[in-house]
Amino acid sequence: MTPLVEIKDLKKYHPLRQGYIFSKRRGEVRAVDGVSFSISEGETLGLVGESGCGKSTLGRTILRLEEPDSGSIVFRSEDITHIKAKDMKWWRKEAQMVFQDPKNSLDPRMTVGNSIEEALIIHDMGDQKKRERRVKELMIKVGLEPDLMARYPHELSGGQQQRIGIARALAVNPKLIVADEPVSALDVSVQAQILNLLADLKKELGLSYLFIAHNLWVIRYISDRVAIMYLGKIVELADKKELFRSPLHPYTEALLSALPGKKDRIILKGEVPSPVDPPSGCRFHPRCPRRFDRCEREEPELKDICKGHFVMCHLY
């Protein structure tokens, strides 16, 4: 498989500023701190991590909704790391985003039809008649009655709102969709519907997903490969079946042990440290049940252990 998008050593730091006249940098939140991976055509990469690990920032930076500090993003051999705002339109058509909170991701003062149509207006896709037909098509595609297009977001249920969010993302025929926790705000019985919809659309339209979640059963269902993120870094990346069968990184082991049906839960001590001042050496070492001397001193690298199973740990 050829990579659709390839990310190399991507970094995104958010500066912390103080003072309003002579603002000075007091430090930075290392939200994304050197991340590399690729997503193949038609593949879903699941990205798992706890809140504050930088997974959302990573998603946004790839879409260039935030400016990367260093590293590169290459889409089909086109480097998009530094393209200017005015040359970005084609990239906006190739890559789209589905958001976490469906209610918040729709403009409350616009009908949902207009929200979808906005994509078509921005990219000059057809006259009004054509656009309306396309909006109807899209709504049917995501499993909604086209009559709903005249409604406002607050008149729809959470599941319906999220379907609108998906339709809006599909309007420009993208190849890549970054889905940032698209089901975590929904009820369990509705989550399954949206996940099935996303899986069907992927097959039908040949999409690739970067699927961000903190919930492992969601990831297990939707992903082809899975990346585990901790404090701005990817600590393990492997084929889904491989990862769930034999997790290597102690952090991954602990996360997987929380899945229902697993009897002996691994309980990690302490809390996620601040990304402003991450621990020395391996970032996970203060909480790691299997740490040894070297972990504190030396930062491990993301190594390929066997056939695409990457792990960042001194144990291997």
């Binding site: 009820d187 509705v190 399954a192 519907q193 099935n196 229902p260």
Partner: protein, 325 residues
Amino acid sequence: MDSENGDKAILSVSGLRTYFFTKNGTVKAVDDISFDLRKGEILCIVGESGSGKTVTALSLLRLIEPPGRIVEGKIMFEEKNLLDIPISEMQKIRGNRIAMIFQDPHSSLNPVLTIGEQITEAMTAHRNLAKSEAKAQTIELLRLVEIPEPERRFHEYPHQFSGGMKQRVMVAMALACEPSVLIADEPTTALDLTIQAQILDLFMELRKKFSMSIIYITHDLGVVSELADRIAVMYGGRIMEKGRRDDVLKNPLHPYTRGLIDCLLSESEKLASIPGTIPNLIDLPEGCIFHPRCISAMDICRTERPGSSKIETEHYVYCFRYGGR
């Protein structure tokens, strides 16, 4: 109070209805539910949002605020119906005999009072304690819930604590008077994965130590499978199925319970899902409220509300497929 199978129940709820009288109509948040809590057990109430599980918990302590009101029912606790006693007597039970932990530890603590004061207050409300004595006990409690440096943290404010630590403070507060019943309303939902595991672990330990009876409210079937002795599944303000953990999880009978478990635990290519959405509680469907989403609905489901049918010891289902009359 004897429960359905003759065991001693510490808390027994029957026919509880809590409605919210809003401008747009009456929300039947809890609509005729009955269950027992036995001594030393963990009862998990499982449901999605809008199922009425939180309102049930609040009703037990009579913490329902207008426009909500407990319309009818009986809550028997220590030989008394909690719905009949005056509010002053209810205040003596709250925090003292029955304590509660809430979902969001960030908003459940008063931001302008120190942690120490908030826990001490829970103690002195019910017991005559000297100030120094209350402080010593509070610090002991903080140590019990594994908060490091309790003497220092006693004087700190909630915003100086992380989410997990705040929830530990809430637990300490609930334990202040060593209650016989603890109600925990989704105590880990607002927390991160690894922190959730820590809090759950704390629960298990405390349960062993204090032999409390716990009502644990959650939407997470994974947690249920670990924690519960018995389970009650709620949907749209009603109980759909209740019984011992293994009976319900391994042999779910109600189509809703089965759907829910399939959603979460299936590993097949296509996720099982329940069609449709959660009903609007103002305009509930006639008959069984689950019938519009039920794959095996019959005619009678559309017109009549099913009663409970006893499948085996302690396993009850509210569905016409199993009698329901």
